[in-house]
């Protein structure tokens, strides 16, 4: 009997304790956010959507290489000698036209690995998370601000310059080779018993240091994924010359076209830059 009363007392005490707790919560502020009207502030460093400040991009391709899922697609074209693309806001000179800079946010896994390699800090996450689309292709973001006709003309110019460089390089290589041959012949004449071995080695040794600056340039070129002419470069032998010569034949016509292109591009490039500036300012506003 006494025990029953104790149990009853405990029961009611715990019920009223519980009811006290719920009554307290009746007046405590709600944790609900009325979503479309109210939004939670994203924490610092939230990974929501990638953004590229294209005016600061130097086309180094580091982000695309860092990407584990290959969602960044970059195509660059080296700028020709007649165009100065200027410098980024961090002071790095820009040497490439960015003809394509696409990020497929449908593939992106928000790992943030592309953000840190960027030398100019131009690729970063922005706190924008409401970008669902009905069509998956709409999730591919195009950051390049070059117009299609601009892209085409830039490509043509870059190709022509690459060919010219190649030609110059071959010419240089040929001259060096001839020079080396002459030297070798002279040496051979001077010292016949020493056989051909050093003679065959010497021209190679002589050529290599002299061609180094050229090969350095070609190394830089290799960082571009799509320079077709690169394939011909290693085969810069006499057989290569034959293959290139027919290509260089129409060059006599092209310089004229090239000149006209230069004249055509320069005025175009100026408004483009101004566009880019305005874009930059507007994007910064958006970003902040």
């Amino acid at each position: 009997m006494l025990n029953d009363i104790k149990v009853g007392w405990r029961t009611f005490r715990s019920i009223f304790k519980g009811m006290g707790i719920t009554f307290g919560h009746l007046f405590s502020p709600s944790v609900t956010l009325q979503y479309p009207e109210e939004r939670m502030e994203l924490p610092k460093g939230a990974r929501a959507r990638l953004y590229v400040n294209i005016d600061d991009c130097i086309g180094c391709n580091l982000c695309a290489r860092a990407c584990p899922v290959n969602c960044i697609d970059i195509e660059t074209v080296p700028s020709t000698a007649d165009v100065d693309l200027g410098v980024t806001s961090t002071g790095n000179p820009k040497r490439f036209w960015l003809t394509r800079f696409n990020i497929d946010m449908a593939k992106c896994m928000y790992c943030d690995l592309c953000v840190h390699p960027c030398p100019t800090d131009c690729i970063y996450m922005v706190p924008e998370y409401e970008y669902s689309e009905f069509d998956r292709t709409n999730l591919v973001y195009h950051f390049s601000n070059l117009k299609p006709d601009m892209v085409a003309s830039v490509k043509v110019k870059a190709e022509i310059e690459a060919e010219e460089k190649l030609k110059q390089k071959e010419e240089l290589a040929r001259q060096k080779a001839e020079l080396a041959k002459k030297k070798a012949e002279e040496q051979a004449e001077e010292a016949k018993p020493k056989s051909d071995e050093p003679a065959a080695g010497d021209p190679g040794k002589d050529i290599k240091p002299e061609t180094k600056p050229v090969s350095d340039e070609s190394d830089k070129d290799e960082s571009k994924p799509e320079t077709k002419t690169e394939g011909a470069e290693p085969a810069a032998d006499e057989t290569g010359k034959e293959g290139i010569k027919p290509e260089t034949k129409p060059e006599s016509d092209e310089p004229a076209a090239n000149d006209s292109d230069k004249e055509g591009i320069k005025p175009e490039a100026k408004p483009d830059n101004s566009d880019a500036d305005s874009d930059e300012s507007s994007k910064k506003e958006n970003g902040e």
């Binding site: 019920i15 519980g18 707790i21 009554f23 919560h25 009746l26 007046f27 709600s30 609900t32």
Partner: protein
């Protein structure tokens, strides 16, 4: 002041029928919205916020319109007539009991001298309609749910009646209007109202037993086993949809209000103002009466979001081996108290 004394002509009968119906319908809309808001607030949420502007006040109306548009599905092998009839009978049972509730000093549907007896008799039809719904669905789970529900209601009717009887022992009248009138005035300890719960310590025990029993009778948490919406489908309502289901819902909310109002009449002075003559009169009486009833309804909702659900065996144990003996012992003590004082 008795505005509706003559019940002779048909318009007057219809008027008498319409007043409780209006009260029930308006109350149901407010209570369903209120229950969801209270649930939200207790759980630190907001509850409905979209429909109608201020705190989603029109949510119940939107739900009602949705339910009206729904298809009226009747299972192929169901007993058609009983299946269709059960929800309306359930609502009718709740609704009919409102006839003897004195809403204010100027209005009672039917001022009969066996009011409480009539109320308890009519509400026992709820059990019948629940079994009817469960059986007519031709679904074993519905039948099981109906049987459980009926068992619960039949069991808890005993302590309810026993506690009501304790009040009747004190008042000596089955007429709820008389019971209310007996509680007028502020004489208890000089200033407290003459409500029965304040006059007799054993009536406090009676009220606690009564409140637990009406929680079980109206299938509220922690005794909502027949439905237990977080565990079962819906008990006897499983096969119902659309407006027929809404009738069950309405009947349950009406039952909740009915039993709360009965509690207010029996223990809290009905339409009597807590301040004696101040703020009394038929309109104020209605206000005080509804306020008391709705406060009890609020406590029911409050308990719903506080306590977990009992098991079936615990439910029956509480009823048969605790509440029923306690209520009868309490009846004896109340009777002794009345003899002595």
């Amino acid at each position: 002041m008795n505005l509706f004394a003559n019940i002779t002509s048909l318009p007057s009968i219809l008027l008498h029928a319409a007043i409780p119906l209006t009260i029930i319908l308006v109350y149901a809309l407010v209570a369903i919205w209120g229950e969801r808001k209270i649930a939200g607030f207790i759980q630190d949420r907001l509850g409905p916020m979209r429909v109608g502007g201020f705190h989603g006040w029109a949510q119940s109306i939107a739900d009602l319109l949705k339910l009206i548009q729904k298809e009226d599905i009747i299972p192929t092998d169901a007993s058609k007539f009983l299946f269709k009839f059960a929800p309306f009978m359930m609502f009718a049972a709740s609704y009919a009991a409102f006839a003897v509730i004195p809403f204010s000093s100027g209005y009672i549907g039917s001022n009969i001298n066996i009011g409480v007896f009539y109320l308890l008799a009519v509400t026992s039809l709820l059990t019948l309609s629940i079994i009817m719904a469960g059986w007519a669905s031709n679904n074993k789970w519905s039948l099981l749910g109906g049987m459980r529900s009926a068992a619960q209601m039949v069991s808890y009717e005993v302590p309810t009646i026993a506690t009501v009887l304790t009040v009747i022992v004190v008042t000596g009248s089955l007429n709820l209007m008389t019971v209310t009138e007996m509680q007028a005035g502020n004489d208890t300890l000089g200033f407290l109202p003459n409500w029965l719960i304040l006059q007799n310590p054993f009536l406090i025990v009676a009220f606690i037993i009564f409140f637990i029993s009406i929680l079980a009778e109206s299938h509220r948490v922690p005794f909502d086993l027949p439905e237990s919406e977080s565990e079962l489908v819906a008990g006897y309502q499983t096969e119902y949809s659309g407006m027929r289901w809404a009738m069950f819902m309405l009947a349950e909310y009406a039952d909740m209000l009915l039993l709360s109002l009965l509690g207010a009449v029996l223990f809290f002075g009905g339409w009597n103002s807590p301040f004696g003559e101040f703020m009394s009169g038929p309109t104020w009486g209605f206000f005080w009466f509804m306020l008391k009833g709705l406060l009890l309804v609020f406590v029911m909702m409050w308990i719903r979001w506080t306590l977990p659900r009992y098991r079936v065996d615990q439910l029956m144990h509480i009823c048969w081996s605790i509440l029923i003996p306690l209520s009868f012992i309490n009846l004896v003590f109340v009777a002794l108290w009345e003899l002595i004082f």
